[in-house]
């Protein structure tokens, strides 16, 4: 079965510092997509960054970047220059091949940003 594991239930970072959230997944597929979503307290879940498995280059979106290690089945999220607004729950998600659009989510990591 395909699974996604986020082993860090909670993380904290000092404002302006860098933090890395971990995610591993299990699949026998070679072509798939990976996503990081952010869910601020009492607010809507939004997409942070996405990665296509066939691309070797790591995705970046402003202060957010990923370290995608396909062989290790690892997909970590790095947040640089952390801001108070980055405080949220972060979910890693795996999209298998196929056109249903189904996602498999990890358990989530709650990120606290300290001023």
């Amino acid at each position: 079965a395909q699974t996604v594991t986020q082993s860090q239930p909670e993380m904290s970072v000092q404002e302006a510092e860098t933090v890395t959230l971990s995610c591993t997944y299990d699949t026998s597929e070679s072509d798939y997509y990976l996503f990081w979503y952010k869910q601020p307290p009492s607010r809507q879940m939004i997409l942070v960054i996405r990665q296509e498995a066939y691309k070797q280059q790591n995705a970046t979106e402003n202060r957010f970047s990923v370290n995608f290690q396909k062989a290790a089945k690892s997909f970590s999220l790095k947040i640089s220059d952390s801001q108070l607004g980055d405080a949220a729950m972060y979910f890693c998600a795996y999209k298998p091949p196929g056109n249903t659009g189904k996602l498999i989510f990890g358990q989530g990591t709650t990120l606290q940003v300290k001023p």
Binding site: M45, N99, K102, L103, F105
Partner: protein, 115 residues
């Protein structure tokens, strides 16, 4: 921007009641999804639909049913609510496509309490 609207942010119902959660999206997305979110468990897929009147079971369909009579609307039904269905319910939608890296777009969520 995609707008996914869930009919209620907070809902309190009694055990044994029939409960309807409504979700509407305005971007002509083929795929729609219902998840429940519980602490430590992440998001778990209840049901999804890839077309009008089409539905497929997700990972935890027991005790739930769905209805999709129109493309923009996807309803989740708790036939006879029980206390273990107290949870946060999230609706999402996405474009359909084999090689699609299109993300899911989420509603604000409905926090449902069954007393």
């Amino acid at each position: 921007d995609v707008k996914v609207t869930q009919s209620s942010r907070y809902l309190v119902k009694r055990t044994g009641e029939k409960v309807f959660l409504e979700c509407v999206q305005d971007m002509d997305h083929e795929n729609m999804f219902w998840y429940r979110q519980d602490p430590g468990l992440g998001l778990r897929l209840i049901y999804f639909s890839y077309d009008v009147k089409m539905k497929e079971k997700g990972d935890i369909p027991e005790g739930y049913s769905v209805s999709r009579e129109k493309k923009e609307r996807f309803s989740l039904i708790l036939e006879s609510a029980s206390t273990n269905q107290t949870s946060m319910y999230l609706c999402a939608s996405s474009l359909r496509g084999e090689a699609s890296n299109q993300p899911q777009h989420f509603g604000d969520g409905t926090r449902l309490s069954i007393l």
